[in-house]
């Protein structure tokens, strides 16, 4: 098909869209306003989702529990109100008339099980849980509040099917370990990608945790909507709404590491401290809301030469042009100094690095500016425009080489949601990004990616929904051969009865190599890493089938089976005993099953969540297990709540990593020393008032039982540490 014909068809499509929008404009609309409160306390509920079922419109309640929905076409609707920790309310036969403003106050009843009702990551729009054909986990605000997560990865460690090697996220075994380079998990902040331009890695420090409302984790391939990088899944961090009333928030925390369990490992007579503060202030000026924040966090490190210090400046702004049209702008600056502990000296001196690493450190500066414009044109047509500029600059003093890398990553996306009749909701968009890197390690490189995607969610019956989608990606990474990728997907969500939902999805995914994987040329710890200009994108087909059932008032169970077939999987590998390279190493297959249960007992005073994941990650060329993968993950979270006091204990078991590269033994003493992970974390929190000011104080003990293990070979994971946190909001 010639370019001219494609252009003509595109014109017709746009014309139809404009025509449909014009028709919609020609009508008059109703308005819905009201307040959402708790039935138990009569207090307003901020951040509750209010959606008009069968349309694209909805909103979130503000700090005072108030909401307002514009542009409602006259007719009879079902209003759905949901919030984590509360029973979903469905108000039927809500009638809207032309030009009439309707007031509807809703009171919600606390629910025993903490199930998130609305997610937005799976379909790039708000969907109720039962509509989603893929597995999604949500870290809710209460869980985030309970844990003293300094960075997002601390919170991800308890999510079913997710494991981390240091800060590298692996969803259902999708990633091994490659020093963070080339992530198979796409990190989004409010739907906007946040991966570094040079190494393509997640930088968790760049996300201010105090301002996070919830985190959604979409498991499995999501390239059909998100493109390269979402091969293993998506982590979408959703920030809090800026409150309408002036608010100042302060969080202070301080703590220390315990002595190592074995006296032989003690390396300092001093105590190693942890401390930090966050201060933010938000204010509304007419239609403009702003939040400014500053934070400083510091950790002496439980190992020699592992101290770090961070400064973070953050600003979030929102301008409301009309009730249905708004612009968000976020600015974020992070400066970090971090000593570099690469590997232990040996197991005898597990908290001391080899002598040649002493004094190694990395200084990094990262700045991002992102914007999101949303417009609800009608109840059937919305669009958003989003973009980010992400600048990173780091240099290291590792092995006196003084490498430096500067990258600029720019990403823009325009997305349309259009509801045709009542059965079809289309999501379509254009997406592009550009990368520019100047680096001692990677050279001077550029990368370009453009894409177009389209998805149709077809509601065949009220209880049966299909989702078809595909994404076309064109990518050109510097001197590498350009690539054209088509990634289709199919999803089915079926509500068997009001308590049971079934899901099935199948899709193709791909990941273009990052600049770091294709062009790294460096030497570290006696290993030379050489570039690979012939690196190809990796591809996969994956499928999943799952069921979710509310077994009783107190028990919700979710189970799924999944399989992914990888082709041209990119892995870091030794090509000679002391030379490493990223290569398209293998065909691989990861099969598994995941079962999780959320339970609540004793009138919701005691909550117990369990999650088990079994993985069979096989290298089909070597007929052996894939490197740096575990077979079993088992997580347990318990919370005992009484009055204003919460006591929580979290446990995680990760079976021993089955296989590593044997060559590591050449330069890391005791490299084969690793064990299964059995870690217990505990925390207690309470709310009290001092004067008229409310405070929340919490005390955290991580690695309560002083279990010594490694996530990464030659690196003991954090030993027992204690933290006291106090926060207030006025």
């Amino acid at each position: 098909m010639s370019f001219g014909k494609i252009r003509n068809k595109f014109k017709i499509l746009i014309s139809l869209l404009i025509f449909a929008v014009s028709l919609s404009f020609a009508q008059q609309y109703g308005v819905l306003k009201g307040t959402v409160t708790s039935k138990e306390t009569n207090q307003p509920l901020p951040s509750a989702n209010v959606m008009i079922k069968g349309t694209l419109i909805g909103t979130i309640t503000d700090f005072n529990g108030k909401y307002s929905i514009q542009k409602i076409r006259p007719g009879k609707y079902i209003l759905v109100v949901s919030m984590i920790g509360f029973r979903k309310e469905e108000l039927t036969d809500v009638v809207f008339e032309t030009g009439v403003e309707k007031i509807l106050n809703i009171s919600m009843e606390p629910a025993a099980i903490q199930v998130s009702q609305v997610v937005i990551t799976a379909g790039k729009r708000e969907q109720s849980f039962a509509e989603v054909p893929a597995s999604v986990s949500v870290i809710d605000p209460q869980t985030l509040q309970r844990r003293n997560a300094v960075t997002i990865d601390d919170a991800l460690r308890q999510v079913s099917g997710v494991s981390l090697i240091e800060s590298q996220v692996s969803i259902r075994g999708s990633s091994g370990y490659s020093k963070g380079v080339g992530s198979r998990t796409l990190m989004l902040v409010d739907g906007i990608p946040l991966l570094t331009g040079d190494t393509g890695e997640l930088v968790f420090e760049s996300v201010p945790t105090f301002n996070v409302d919830r985190i959604e984790i979409l498991k499995g391939a999501a390239s059909a909507l998100y493109g390269s990088g979402a091969m293993g899944g998506v982590v979408n961090v959703l920030t809090k709404e800026i409150p309408d009333l002036p608010q100042t928030y302060l969080r202070l925390y301080g703590g220390f590491y315990d002595k190592p369990y074995y006296p032989e490992w003690k390396w300092s007579s001093k105590t190693q401290f942890i401390n930090g503060f966050y201060v933010s202030h938000s204010q509304k000026f007419s239609d403009f809301k702003t939040l400014l924040a500053i934070s400083r966090t510091e950790d002496d490190g439980y190992r020699q030469n592992s101290r770090w210090q961070r400064w973070n400046l953050y600003s979030q702004n929102q301008y409301q042009f009309t009730p249905s049209k708004k612009l968000h702008l976020s600015l974020n600056y992070l400066e970090q100094r971090r000593n570099n502990f690469l590997y232990w000296k040996n197991l005898d001196s597990a908290l001391i690095p080899r002598a040649d690493q002493l004094g190694d450190r990395v200084i990094s500066k990262r700045f991002s500016a992102s914007s999101l414009f949303t417009n609800i044109v009608t109840d059937r047509f919305t669009y958003s425009i989003k973009g980010i500029w992400y600048h990173t600059d780091w240099r290291n003093d590792v092995e006196v080489l003084g490498d430096r890398s500067i990258s600029n990553f720019m990403d823009a996306e325009v997305q349309f949601n259009y509801q045709m009749f009542t059965e079809h909701i289309f999501t379509l968009g254009v997406h592009g990004n550009y990368n520019r890197v100047r680096s001692d390690i990677f050279g001077r490189r550029t990368g370009l990616n453009t894409a177009f995607y389209l998805q149709d969610e077809y509601k065949m019956y009220d209880d049966l929904r299909f989702s078809f989608g595909t994404r076309f990606d064109y990518s050109k990474l510097d001197s590498l051969k350009s690539q054209f990728q088509i990634n289709p997907k199919l999803g089915v969500a079926y509500s068997y009865d009001p308590l049971t939902s079934l899901r099935f999805s199948v899709g193709r995914a791909f990941r273009s190599p990052s600049i770091g994987e294709a062009f790294t040329s460096t030497t570290a710890s006696n290993i030379m890493v050489i570039p690979n200009p012939n690196l190809k994108p990796e591809k996969s087909w994956s499928f999943e089938a799952g069921v979710n059932r509310i077994v009783s008032e107190n028990i919700n169970v979710d189970a799924s089976i999944f399989q992914t077939e990888y082709d041209n999987l990119i892995e870091a590998k030794f090509v000679s005993p002391f030379t490493g390279q990223f290569i398209n190493v293998t065909r691989a297959r990861i099969q598994g099953l995941e079962v999780s249960a959320k339970t609540s007992f004793f009138e919701n005073y005691f909550q117990l969540n369990l999650a088990y994941t079994y993985l069979k990650p096989m290298d089909r060329v070597e007929n052996d297990i894939l490197r740096f993968r575990s077979k079993h993950l088992f997580y347990v979270n318990t919370v005992l709540s009484y009055s204003d006091i919460d006591l929580g204990i979290d446990f995680r078991y990760i079976s021993r990593i089955e296989r590593i590269d044997k060559e590591f033994a050449l330069y890391i003493a005791d490299a084969e020393q690793r064990v299964p992970t059995y870690v217990v974390d505990a925390h207690i929190s309470s709310i009290f008032t001092f004067g008229d000011v409310p405070f929340r104080a919490s005390f955290h003990i991580n690695n309560l039982l002083q279990y010594n293990y490694v996530e990464l070979i030659g690196n003991i994971a954090p030993i027992r540490n204690f933290t006291l946190r106090i926060e207030t909001s006025i």
Partner: protein, 169 residues
């Protein structure tokens, strides 16, 4: 619920074993000890030196063959790095070492030098002045063979085990 609590209790008990631990001190160790003496026009830095002790001695086809024997067999034992790239060799006359080895007859003990991915032999334990014939060492259980002294003479490097004698520089 009761069963669940028992399972959780079991996991908690397992967690109490504290995982990784330093190797026990009372273990029986044996091996060799001695001093590496540096001579000649020493390179200033960016080198790593290790010791190897081989149960076999023959003409190896390449250094990679030696590394493969280190990795995949127990024919050749390797000591962690003795010198590091950041260590200025010019300021060093000698380094004492203690090399823990399984009890065995070792036919070839040498100092290997790494520069990036390039490796070569720079010192051989030998009483022969040309260091063509390596000395053998018998390591017995619980005993260290002392005075296994090795000379690294940059003006007169030993023959590589896989090349013609004298061309090792």
């Amino acid at each position: 619920m009761k069963n669940l609590l028992i399972v959780l209790l079991l996991f908690t008990i397992i967690s109490c074993d504290h995982g990784l631990a330093p190797p026990p001190k009372e273990k029986i160790e044996q091996g060799i000890s001695g001093t590496i003496y540096y001579r000649g026009a020493l390179p200033d830095s960016l080198l790593t030196h290790r010791l190897i002790a081989s149960k076999v001695f023959r003409k190896f086809s390449s250094m990679d063959e030696i590394i493969s024997l280190v990795l995949w067999t127990d024919s050749i034992q390797i000591h962690p790095a003795i010198t590091y790239p950041s260590l200025a060799l010019t300021k060093i006359d000698s380094i004492h070492f203690k090399f823990v080895l399984p009890p065995e007859l070792y036919k070839y003990i040498a100092v290997v030098q790494q520069h990036g991915s390039k490796w070569k032999i720079v010192g051989v334990y030998s009483s022969d002045s040309m260091r063509v014939t390596p000395d053998t060492v018998i390591v017995e259980t619980g005993k260290f063979v002392e005075n296994v002294n090795i000379y690294v003479d940059y003006d007169n490097l030993p023959p590589q085990p896989f090349s013609i004698a004298g061309s090792g520089r």
